[in-house]
């Protein structure tokens, strides 16, 4: 078992974990050391009594040793304690940073909504679970076994039969722990499922609270939820019974060792293979050795639990990063799709698509939802890598260009805008960190941001809150366009950039976009077909295939899918409430 790989640790982290474990073991041993003093004194007292000596036991010797041992226990624990927290803190901070580093190297396709919340919970919760292991759990697990093993090993030199007796039941006890895992698994699974039901039930309750509250069904719904919440109880109890029974048995078996020690001890005493003092030594040890061992057994469970988190972390580290050369310099920006086919896992969504988006032209992708238009535009910037067919820019297959390098040629404006809890200025600066202040102000002007920024309390220095929640949809969109201006990339992807309505400032957004795309290679996806009427090329997709292409007039004349969609939309555009 390679603990470094298992927990995805750094080399230093592994070393630290070993160190913590070693120190904890040392600590466990030091707290048993006083037994030596106990024995020395016991022996001395026995001798005194047997010899009826009138001299007294010398105090100072013991006193010195006691104080010395106290100091040792204190110091070793202090060192262990510091080691535990400083190192686990350091390593988990590193782990979080390494995970974050890894995230930014992942293909963009991994950065969808669901994955993001998974990433967040891994970064927070899973790492915390590992932190607990690194701090003390793992060290306790190992040190309990090692320290008692070590002590027994030493004792074995004194009397191996008795040492063996101490541990005779250990294997059986372990067996019970392992068997219990198997026996309880089905119940545990059921248990977890029921817990998940509760979780989902609560989530649904909160998500739909408006609907629930505005319905006569409210009490009925709550009743069902109540049932779900209660359903877990008998199963949880059953699981607890099973686990409890096994754990109890296993702990008890371990302690039968005490009886065996007494039994064997008396036998050996009679056989004169063991002195009375020797017997007492083993009794002293036997009352001390099982608690750390029991603790170890207990930590095995926690360890197994932590493995689930460790696995999730490891999975992220193992996601393949995209490769490619950063040395490529593109000078011409036609994007050519050559017989591109693509699918997610098992379902193919793009079938043998070929077209070229020319520099200085606007190419629109249209079609019903699920036709693959978004996927196509994302393939062009390596959200995923095309496996069949190829996408070529300036003679280079984009799979051979490093994703960061490739992205440096793209400006992408999405419908959803992500903003940071920072100033407006810095949010625009995200477009290009090298930009001068002058350039940033200019980009803001070009993106028609001036008027609303001027209205903010601290103008450009206004902090806009978590994900820019203080701004309206249109304002957010314009900031994202300002970023694109700042970047000055030769290729522009517009994915539903104008789908969000904000009647007040929509024209401003449109003006800004018109300016942004001048003389670029532009790929645009728009639901409102009117907006793309003037595009140089319209690619009509259905179920992942190109079924029509050409300019608006041609396509209208075709009288096929495009003209049908246009007609439909014209009807909805004319829709009016209360129409007579």
């Amino acid at each position: 078992m390679n603990i470094q790989k298992l927990f995805s640790l750094t080399k230093q982290g592994k070393k630290d974990l070993y160190k913590t474990t070693l120190l904890t073991t040392l600590h466990q041993i030091t707290v048993v050391l006083p037994v030596i003093l106990f024995i020395m004194l016991t022996e001395e007292m026995i001798i005194h009594i047997q010899s009826n000596s009138s001299s007294s036991v010398t105090l100072w010797q013991y006193l010195t040793l006691c104080i010395f041992l106290l100091a040792v226990i204190f110091v070793i624990y202090l060192i262990t304690y510091k080691q535990m927290y400083i190192n686990s803190g350091r390593e988990t901070a590193k782990m979080r940073v390494r995970l974050a580093e890894k995230f930014r190297k992942l293909p963009l396709s991994y950065l969808g909504e669901k994955d993001l919340s998974d990433f967040t919970s891994t970064l927070m919760d899973d790492v915390s679970v590992i932190e607990k292991q690194l701090t003390s759990d793992f060290a306790n697990l190992v040190s309990g076994i090692v320290s008692s093993g070590f002590i027994t090993f030493i004792l074995a030199f004194y009397n191996w039969q008795m040492a063996l007796a101490l541990f005779l039941c250990m294997p059986v006890s372990l067996l019970f722990i392992i068997v219990s895992k198997f026996v309880t698994t089905p119940t545990n699974r059921k248990n977890r499922q029921l817990k998940l039901d509760i979780s989902e039930g609560l989530q649904e309750f909160f998500e739909n609270i408006k609907v629930i509250k505005s319905s006569s069904q409210k009490e009925h719904y709550i009743q069902n939820l109540t049932k779900t919440i209660k359903a877990v109880v008998p199963w949880a109890v059953l699981y607890e019974v099973l686990v409890g029974v096994f754990i109890s048995i296993s702990y008890n078996i371990l302690r039968i060792g005490l009886g065996i020690v007494v039994l064997l001890g008396t036998y050996l005493l009679v056989q004169q293979q063991l002195t009375a003092l020797g017997f007492i030594i083993f009794i002293y040890i036997a009352v001390r050795i099982y608690d750390p061992l029991t603790n170890s057994l207990y930590k095995i469970g926690e360890f197994i639990y932590a493995l689930v988190s460790a696995k999730r972390i490891k999975n992220i580290f193992e996601i393949e990063e995209q490769t490619g050369s950063s040395e490529v310099d593109l000078t011409q920006f036609d994007i050519e799709f050559n017989q591109v086919s693509f699918g997610y896992s098992d379902k193919q969504v793009i079938h043998d698509v070929s077209f070229a988006a020319r520099q200085g032209e606007i190419t629109a992708l249209v079609g019903p939802s699920g036709c693959g238009k978004s996927t196509l535009s994302k393939l062009a910037c390596r959200f995923w890598d095309v496996k069949k067919g190829k996408i070529v820019i300036d003679g280079h297959n984009i799979n051979e260009i490093h994703p960061e390098k490739l992205l440096s040629y793209y400006s992408i404006v999405f419908q959803d805008v992500t903003l940071f809890n920072d100033t407006v200025f810095n949010n625009i600066k995200v477009g290009n960190s090298e930009a001068t202040d002058e350039e940033i102000f200019q980009a803001a002007t070009m993106a028609r941001c001036d008027d609303f920024i001027a209205r903010l309390p601290d103008s450009f220095d206004t902090v806009i809150g978590e994900n820019g929640q203080t701004l309206s949809g249109g304002e957010r969109q314009r900031i994202s366009i300002a970023r694109a201006f700042l970047k000055k990339a030769p290729i522009v992807l517009l994915d539903e950039a104008t789908a969000s309505l904000d009647p007040e400032n929509e024209t401003l957004i449109q003006e800004a976009i018109s300016e942004l795309i001048k003389d670029k290679t532009v790929i645009v996806i728009a639901h409102r077909l009117k907006t793309i009427e003037h595009c140089d090329q319209i690619i009509v997709l259905k179920e992942g295939k190109v079924i029509e292409r050409g300019q608006h007039e041609q396509l209208m004349a075709n009288d096929h899918l495009y003209s049908y969609l246009v007609a439909l939309q014209r009807k909805s555009g004319d829709w009016q409430v209360n129409e007579v």
């Binding site: 106990f38 016991t42 007292m45 105090l59 509250k213 039994l263 008396t266 019903p368 995200v430 795309i517």
Partner: protein, 593 residues
């Protein structure tokens, strides 16, 4: 220990509280029995040391018997402890179920405004996870604590039976330990715990922001930018936790010394007493007795520490939960509730300010909306449009003025009655994980199949139902039963059609969806709005030119009111908005051709 939490839990236990007492009692008995085990071990040695005639058979037999008795006692103690935990778990599971149910019963009565300001995921976590902590507390901490506390007491009794002087001396480190423990778990530490949780929450926020923003910074090649802030948050958290841990280092090490340092008191004391006693054998036996007993004390002291630390964290979680859920009170109601016959809506000098905001969301708003008419509300974002809806449905109650339906103040109507007469067609709606049939008839479980079929047709859902594996009986969210956003919207419209409430509140979609969906949704909406008192928040000004009344809002006040033609003639804000809108829908990308 804070007892208000415990007493609250005990109230929740109801009849299980007896089981809880039994569990504690058994736990206490278990700890006494485990003392018996140690006592028997001691007897083994006593037998050995006092055997004046050598190891006769009877001595050996006694030793063996004591040895097995020790094992028996240990086993009994463990078995009892197991039993106690089993009972405490039964209590815990039932109590937590009760607790959760109580929470959701409280929450279902809260004004909807409470839910608007919160992420559903956070609320769920609070109700799910924080109660789970409570489960641990009842199941483990309480029996453990009871046991840990009784051991020293029982021990004390035993000790005095042997040698009171030695006992007192052995108790010194135990008391020192308690003092240190008190220091560690005291006020200072609780403050630290709060700060720690805050640091953790801050890191959480920064992590969320980093992860959310990652695709953006990646696209712009600015990963270093957001990374720096993230790194800072991680480092702050690390520094804080380490600082917190290290602030305890001396106290913790001191505690460990107390726990394991009994020997340093026992040994010198034993020597002194041994040197000065007339009966050295008795002294030796007392000494042996204490040597055998000290590990038990150490074990219990460690357990007390762990338990009290965990209890501190758990109570904190419980406090957070209670604070988050119970700070909000259910909507106030009056005694003589009224109903109404007509369903016109009237705002009279209505003013409202959101909690924590300085600006009024709406101020002195007055308007009327008649049955079988459409009133459209337009205005820039933040002008107070959705506040109007929030006040009608009592998501919030207004500060001044009145909202009347059929002349009755909404606050004087039974809430269920009010809600059952309003259909709220939301922009973003989710479906329940139930059959589509149950989803559609959610408001009216008694609807006949004909009515349901009609609603399905009117809401343009027929084609959705047909492609589902089991038609109307398909459970939403099950395998192969996923719907697109537009389709979900249509299902919820079917739900509203079936509800057939006299008042319809409609929030028009701000985003365009694809052509086919768009068309069908509009057709579906026509059916919902038929002959109702309709209030709609309009984003596409072209849709409302025929509305009976258009309210133009800005910064919480009504700036214009009238029909389309009148407002256009006024040439004010509405005319300007309409002009802008016209311009925007005629926009073409690449307009140069």
């Amino acid at each position: 220990m804070k007892n208000k939490n415990l007493s609250k839990l005990m109230k929740l236990m109801e009849r299980y509280v007896y089981l809880f007492y039994i569990s504690i009692a058994i736990s206490v008995i278990s700890s006494v029995v485990s003392l018996g085990a140690y006592l028997n071990v001691y007897y083994v040695i006593e037998e050995l040391l006092t055997a004046t005639n050598g190891l006769t058979e009877s001595v050996i037999d006694n030793m063996k018997q004591y040895g097995w008795q020790a094992v028996l006692y240990v086993s009994a103690a463990f078995a009892l402890y197991g039993l106690s935990l089993l009972l405490s778990h039964i209590v815990a599971f039932n109590t937590v179920a009760k607790y959760r149910i109580q929470l959701i019963h409280h929450m279902k009565e809260l004004p909807l405004g409470y839910f608007q300001g919160q992420q559903t995921g956070k609320l769920r976590k609070l109700v799910e996870k924080n109660t789970e902590e409570v489960e641990h507390y009842i199941a483990h901490q309480v029996p453990d604590m009871a046991q840990a506390m009784t051991t020293p007491v029982a021990f004390l009794v035993l000790i005095f039976l042997f040698d009171w002087k030695l006992s007192l001396i052995c108790l010194i480190p135990v008391f020192l330990g308690f003092i240190l423990l008190h220091f560690m778990m005291g006020g200072e530490s609780e403050k630290f715990l709060e700060q720690y949780q805050e640091a953790s929450a801050n890191m959480g926020n920064d992590v969320v922001e980093y992860v959310r923003g990652i695709s953006v910074v990646k696209v712009f090649g600015q990963t270093a930018f957001s990374f720096k802030a993230f790194n800072q948050a991680i480092e702050n958290y690390r520094d804080f936790t380490v600082k917190y841990a290290l602030s305890m280092k001396n106290a913790m090490s001191g505690y460990i010394v107390c726990v394991y340092g009994i020997f340093a008191f026992l040994i010198p004391a034993a020597i002194i007493f041994f040197n000065n006693t007339a009966n050295p054998m008795e002294m030796l036996l007392s000494y042996v007795f204490f040597v055998i007993f000290t590990p038990l004390v150490a074990f219990m002291l460690m357990r007390i520490m762990e338990s009290s630390y965990k209890a501190m964290i758990i109570f904190h979680a419980m406090d957070n939960l209670e604070e988050a859920v119970y700070r909000e009170k259910p909507l106030p109601t009056t005694d003589n509730l009224k109903k109404t016959e007509s369903f016109d809506i009237q705002f009279k000098n209505a003013s409202f300010t959101y909690e924590g905001m300085t600006n009024q969301a709406i101020s002195e708003l007055s308007f009327e909306s008649n049955p079988k008419s459409v009133t459209a509300i337009v205005g820039p974002s933040g002008s107070g449009k959705s506040t109007v809806f929030n006040l009608i449905t009592r998501f919030y109650d207004l500060d001044k003025g009145e909202v009347l339906i059929g002349g009755v103040d909404v606050r004087e109507m039974p809430y269920d009655y009010l809600m059952s007469h309003i259909s709220y067609v939301f922009q973003e709606t989710k479906l329940f994980k139930m059959s589509l049939l149950d989803n559609i008839r959610f408001y009216r479980p008694d609807a006949s199949i004909e009515e349901i079929e009609r609603a399905v047709d009117q809401a343009q859902c027929r084609e959705i139902i047909d492609k589902m594996p089991n038609g109307l009986d398909t459970v939403f969210g099950a395998k192969g039963a996923y719907l697109s956003g537009g389709e979900i919207q249509r299902i919820t419209i079917a739900r509203a059609i079936l509800k057939d409430a006299p008042i319809v509140l409609l929030d028009e979609a701000t985003a365009f969806s694809d052509a086919e969906n768009e068309y069908k949704i509009q057709k579906a909406l026509n059916s919902v709005m038929q002959d109702k008192t309709v209030l709609m928040i309009a984003h596409r000004l072209s849709t409302i030119t025929h509305a009976d009344q258009i309210l133009v809002m800005d910064e919480g006040t009504l700036v214009e009111k009238g029909k389309h033609a009148e407002l256009m003639a006024q040439n004010g804000m509405y005319a300007r908005m309409y002009h802008n809108y016209q311009q925007s829908i005629s926009w073409r990308i690449g307009g140069k051709r």
